[in-house]
């Protein structure tokens, strides 16, 4: 028994003293740009948002973000690794070093910016809405949805949730971990509407024209989307900012944006 205790204590001690929390210090000392090049791999945190990032028929990741991240890795001369992460935990995962950068359609907001650094926007997105024909019959403006008896489903922790709460403070909200669950609620007619970033609501309404419709034609917010990275790493921030500048100028971002958000060519890749 003595030996058992000894083994136990030694294990704990070794684990404790040798490793306890050097990560925090390590994470900030070295710029991730350097680390990425040393290891030859860029680790990108993302989450499924149609058509920003999703799995195609063969189980491969495709989408706007995926194209952006792949090009970024290619320009850095390293391999890419995607780390699919639950959206509600994506910022804690970045802070604790599960990956190097979030390229996941993340809207720049003051609350998030207090915890992470953002690059300049590489894309703008807006919130739009898709509603149930029977439940939201005759609704045509934000004020129609801003009522106590209206229920809206959104994906938890997204800027869609924030926008919905801001524009429709009186409505009730159902929060889900995934967008598909929110849309399922809508299809079942248990909520009046789903708020999500464009162009997904419009696409979804097109898919089920006899059940759903788009009550508000124009997007009701305009949000800058940036890469998110850990605080204190100004080298990386500078590098990513300039990468975005260059790819704005070269037209790469615009071209990809058109493909994913304005055409529906990619749909055959998914279904």
């Amino acid at each position: 028994m003595k030996r058992l205790t000894a083994i136990f204590v030694v294990l704990m001690l070794a684990a404790g003293t040798a490793f306890a929390g050097q990560t925090g210090a390590m994470l900030s000392k070295e710029s991730i740009v350097e680390k990425i090049q040393k290891q030859g791999v860029l680790r990108v945190g993302m989450s499924t948002f149609v058509p920003w990032a999703m799995k195609d028929k063969n189980g491969e990741l495709i989408g706007f973000e995926i194209d952006v991240a792949k090009k970024l890795a290619k320009d850095m001369g390293v391999k890419i690794e995607f780390v699919p992460t639950a959206w509600s935990g994506i910022i804690p995962a970045l802070l604790t070093g599960k990956f190097d950068v979030i390229i996941g359609g993340m809207g720049i907001t003051p609350e998030r910016n207090l915890k992470v650094n953002f690059t300049m926007p590489y894309e703008f997105s807006g919130m739009s809405m898709v509603a149930h024909k029977k439940k939201a019959d005759g609704f045509s403006g934000v004020e129609d949805f801003n009522k106590k008896e209206v229920t809206i489903a959104v994906r938890m922790g997204t800027t869609a949730e924030q926008a919905a709460r801001k524009f429709m403070p009186k409505a009730q909200f159902k929060l889900f971990e995934n967008e598909s669950q929110a849309l399922q609620e809508l299809n079942l007619g248990r909520v009046h509407a789903v708020v999500s970033s464009a162009p997904m609501p419009a696409f979804h309404a097109l898919k089920f024209p006899d059940k759903l419709f788009v009550p508000i034609k124009e997007n009701f917010t305009k949000e800058p989307i940036g890469f998110a990275l850990r605080k204190g790493d100004y080298d990386a921030l500078n590098f990513f900012n300039n990468w975005i500048l260059i790819n704005h100028a070269s037209g790469f971002l615009k071209e990809r944006q058109t493909y994913w958000f304005e055409t529906k060519e990619w749909e055959r890749l998914v279904q």
């Binding site: 699919p84 598909s180 669950q181």
Partner: protein
């Protein structure tokens, strides 16, 4: 007969309501593709996300059970035979784990503990430096370099969780043995530790073999919750698939059946073996 008629009536009522209320367009034809598909270029069958997720679930459960077994046995022995201090350590561990939801435990473990300890080990960096053969092998039995840290912390968290239950099973097994065993061993001149190793422990393990096997099934099911920390196992892949295709019902039903296919034969086999070995006692 009445019961049977009632059940039939309930099922048919349910199905008819399902048709009218949901107005759901079933599309089962899309599902097989997500198990396996034929690669257009090479013409070979390639496993797709559902099958990959299925294997990840199996790998995860096996590793977690192995680790949990070591941890649980250690803690169980300490709880049953240790001095006051060892019993205290064992109880602290078991009671903490058993009284906190696995979801909460997992989240704390993933963000707090694993980023403190696991990341520093640099498993992923070490793996990336290995030859492709080694990488493929570890990818097969563990996970790819990109997800090895998450995989390791999921295994560790699951093992920590299941270990507490195994600890209780082992402790019960040791304490459940009649005192006469000790006395008999003592009378033939065996020392305390020797008695424990040669007489008590083998018997205790035989006693607890079936509950332990049952715990393995629990691990398979509990592994579903690691989807929240983004391990790409069956449940996670199912959710991803739903997000991309919106085939909600088809995907959920398929995933349920896959879990069932994994655990049901196992639990049947265990209970059959248990029955068969019972009369010999």
């Amino acid at each position: 007969m009445v019961a049977l008629a009632l059940v039939a009536a309930a099922i048919s009522f349910f199905l008819s309501r399902m048709g009218s209320v949901l107005a759901y367009e079933w599309d089962w034809s899309a599902i097989p593709r997500y198990f396996m598909f034929r690669d257009g270029e090479t013409g070979r069958l390639v496993p797709n996300i559902l099958l990959k997720g299925f294997f990840t679930t199996i790998k995860l459960s096996i590793w977690a059970t192995v680790l949990a077994f070591v941890l649980g046995t250690l803690s169980g022995i300490m709880g049953a035979r240790g001095d006051g201090f060892q019993r205290f350590v064992s109880r602290t561990y078991v009671e903490t784990v058993r009284n906190v939801p696995s979801l909460v435990l997992l989240i704390i473990f993933y963000y707090f503990v694993s980023s403190q300890f696991l990341d520093i080990l640099g498993l992923d960096e070490w793996l990336r430096r290995q030859s492709p053969g080694v990488r493929e092998f570890t990818g097969f039995i563990l996970a790819d370099p990109g997800s090895i840290n998450a995989f390791a912390s999921a295994v560790a968290a699951l093992a920590l969780y299941e270990g507490a239950y195994i600890s209780e099973i082992v402790r019960g097994g040791i304490l459940g043995l009649p005192r006469g065993q000790w006395e008999a061993a003592y009378s033939i001149g065996l020392s305390g530790p020797k008695t424990f190793r040669l007489v008590i422990l083998p018997q205790a393990f035989r006693q607890v073999a079936f509950p332990l096997a049952g715990q393995f099934i629990s691990t398979i099911k509990d592994s579903a919750i690691v989807s929240v920390i983004s391990i790409q196992e069956l449940t996670f892949q199912g959710m991803e698939l739903m997000s991309a295709t919106f085939l909600t019902f088809e995907v959920w039903i398929t995933v349920t059946l896959l879990y069932f296919a994994l655990t049901f034969p196992l639990s049947r086999a265990i209970s059959l073996l248990e029955k068969r070995s019972a009369p010999r006692e």
